[in-house]
Symmetry: C2
Subunit: 223 residues, 2 copies
């Protein structure tokens, strides 16, 4: 699936472009949870016809980020705090398996360190998209090293599904500092090849983000 990269998309299909665009619109908050997706307008905005757009929407429905009501169209899925808890539960279970099967060591740690330094240089509040992209890169550098291909794809999906809510808090400065610190703990565990410690600090890191996401979720409930 790979939500993220493939930046040089010259030869990509319209469906693929629609997928990327709509995903980004959700992640950036351009499309808010609960909002209806107007097919004709969106198609015009993306300079495609309704057919490839509908195929993309159909896939996004299967991915869980859109819901569909017959004859009423698509709307952005609205997650309750219970839903978020479930997403994070699944992430914990599956990510742990990825970490257990990933190769650790100094080489991985150096690479993670380099990514974390790039993350440190980004101002999360002014450029949240870049910040999120690098944060994603940090965690998936280990996940990608795992031979568990299908599990990795599932984790990618889970990250994406909770992406909008993650964007609610990730830009906050105190959070960013805390994130950098916890990433440091993860790097240490990777360098020491201490798998249990790695899982422990990763769980802590995730638990913190889950707490923040649920807090902000409650706070963003107006209307």
């Amino acid at each position: 699936m790979t939500v993220g990269e493939a930046t040089g998309q010259t030869g990509t299909s319209s469906v693929e472009r629609c997928l990327v665009e709509v995903r980004n619109m959700i992640l950036t908050g351009e499309l808010l949870p609960g909002e209806k997706v107007h097919q004709a307008d969106l198609a015009a905005q993306l300079s495609v016809s309704r057919i490839p757009l509908r195929e993309a929407l159909s896939r996004l429905q299967a991915e869980g980020v859109l819901t569909h009501r017959p004859n009423s169209g698509y709307q952005v899925s609205r997650f309750s705090s219970e839903d978020l808890t479930e997403l994070y539960l699944m992430r914990r279970l599956l990510e742990t398996e990825l970490l257990r099967s990933a190769p650790l060591g100094a080489q991985q740690a150096d690479r993670l360190q380099e990514i974390n330094e790039r993350l440190r240089k980004v101002d999360a509040s002014t450029d949240p998209e870049t910040y999120q992209a690098i944060n994603h890169e940090f965690h998936f550098h280990l996940f990608d090293a795992s031979p568990l291909r299908l599990v990795r794809e599932e984790v990618d999906r889970l990250w994406y599904r909770s992406g909008f809510y993650r964007s609610l808090y990730l830009h906050e400065a105190p959070t960013a500092l805390q994130v950098l610190h916890e990433h440091g703990l993860i790097i240490d565990a990777v360098r020491d090849e201490d798998i249990e410690e790695l899982i422990r600090v990763t769980d802590e890191h995730r638990k913190g983000t889950e707490r923040l996401a649920i807090e902000r979720l409650g706070r963003s409930r107006r209307r």
Copy 2:
């Protein structure tokens, strides 16, 4: 003069019908792993145009049962034994959570007993589809009782993804007897409200089916 009248399914959309039909074609082996999906023929066979069919295929791609190559179309995903192992690993992790959060007791056990009796009466070799449906009902009776809605949906997807390979062995008579016996162990654990025992026997049950699926997978590799 809509097509819906011909089949009598006026309530469901064409996309939904395509989804169900294609899924069944994969589960029953009418569409084999690796086989290409001819859109025009399949659309004609399902009495729909290519548009809703393509939306359904797009969703099935997101679900992992179809793969797509640009300008070459869709084909049924081919799973390696490693892939199957991953699917079963994820099933174990997620199903365990469902069982932990599901209510147990005599009432649930009675219902499972009733389902298992219906399963006993079905000849798996002559009516594999009914057999599979009831087997699914047995396991998902507990899963459905869990409050973890999203986890349940993921497990559903995982079951479906390995569905074709499950169909390779489930019809065999000795397997059927073993299945009924192991279901009995599950029922006992549910009645005793012994969650750890329930997880243990369920793991054993799943491990057995995984072993069979991988065996048959190797056996079905010709080409």
